[in-house]
Symmetry: D2
Subunit: 155 residues, 4 copies
DNA sequence: TTTT
DNA sequence: TTTT
């Protein structure tokens, strides 16, 4: 059956990516980005409305995010919606929707410039990363970074 | 500040649209659509994964949805993500994400055929609609139906 | 450098796909689809504007198109723009833009029904296809059909 | 009839926008933007492929482009494909595809910084613009700039 | 050249 | 809860 589930965002990270390393050199990154829309209300005043989106990246993508993205980074994101549903202790339905990222690219500033003076520099985050996390041939975040996980789970 | 917040879906309605009429001849419709993705797991078995999406339509769009869409209808939807956040009685953060529809179009079946034998036929739903709800010049759901709300609120 | 080049179409085939088989069991399909937009002019009359798009599919995707799509089929398409530029005999620049399809899915009608009474039936086109063209495990056009070419050329 | 004709691009201007002023304070801007894709060929070498896209903007949008965009500016663009077809003197079909922009936003650098030292500064281009071209309440290019033409022609 |  |  035909189905399309696609999200396209351009926004800025509200904080540095949170990356967790899992068994088998796998990694998952959680990011929060804001998209802001400006409009004029009926008094002609400019109003800004900000929407926050939770992103999830896996594998090499998560590692690239850790290495190149930080609070304030502007990115283009393409992904799909995924809603977790569970019951809390009161037996009530709880929902949380996130965007599973399929590809992203860093916008604007060159990454070198972007990293200069960055206190969350790669060297530091490297300390908590497996040595193999950043192969020298790795793509960079200002190129398109696609999800290339080899598992058979499409989530 | 630049921002893009865009969702594109193709899926089927899980049930008839739920439409509420408000003061001033305004209306809001809530729809739930499923997008299904098929893939093969590592045993080579075909697996289907279904994601459900909550849609919200306003104004003329809501009325067209009521008139032309029903359980099973396949639609193309374009909209934006909007997450409501509130605190429940336990003081816990609760979230609910929906898609504010900006335009949609009915896919596949001709609307005449689609309406044939439809127990939620326009005549019936007309009974609970203000007379002005369906001007004879109204677009139909198999054309692109854009949000034309005149209010100054971009939600 | 960051780049996004994305096209999303929903339209109907103007004619059956034209498929050519190449060496090494490769195949290429050319399709033409129409997207129609309706609007009202300043006299309040309904006007339709149709745009035609040239699609190009490769490999397994081309074979699935040949097997399941025909004149009139409604499809969702995702792809990227690709413009060929050359000089004609008069030394003038000539351009031709097509959409390299990355994924597509058939909309609306069930494929079985769609094929019924189709004079361009698979059996006939099979005569000119390598035997391996349609493995029994092939996806169908009413599922998402992604480009899976293994070559290293992103065109 | 259902139809979707959508293009999404992120790229950089190859040159300053070319803006023409028409009767009635209307304006049209032509821009050319490049989207670059990087991939590895079968020798493992990094290859870049650049695609050029012709954009067309009208009205206020064109004027904002003139004021804020220049060679090298990175923009997000949303629009629709439009192909002109005509016959040349030899009676041969000629085609030219462009993207009619529906909305765009400037990416990366803040506009103030972007304008600093810009030799195509607003003051200069103002000289050739009707006085009413840039109302003080005009949106800026780093907000989303939507097409708001009031004519009834969807081209 | 499609579709409604 | 849809669809195939």
């Amino acid at each position: 059956m035909a189905g399309v589930n696609k999200v396209i965002l351009v926004g800025n990270l509200g904080s540095d990516p949170e990356v967790k390393y899992l068994e088998g050199d796998n990694a998952v990154a959680n990011l929060s980005i804001a998209t802001t829309e400006a409009y004029k209300n009926r008094n002609g005043e400019r109003v800004e409305q900000t929407e926050w989106h939770d992103l999830e990246m896996w594998g090499a993508q998560a590692k690239i995010a850790e290495q190149y993205l930080k609070k304030g980074s502007q990115i283009y994101v393409e992904g799909k919606l995924k809603t977790d549903k569970w019951q809390d202790e009161q037996g009530q339905n709880r929902y949380r929707t996130k965007i599973r990222v399929l590809s992203f690219t860093m916008l604007g500033a060159k990454p070198d410039g972007a990293m200069g003076g960055n206190t969350n520099a790669p060297q530091q985050s490297n300390q908590q990363r497996p040595a193999s996390a950043a192969p020298t041939s790795a793509p960079k975040a200002q190129e398109m970074v696609s999800d290339t996980e080899d598992d058979d789970l499409p989530f």
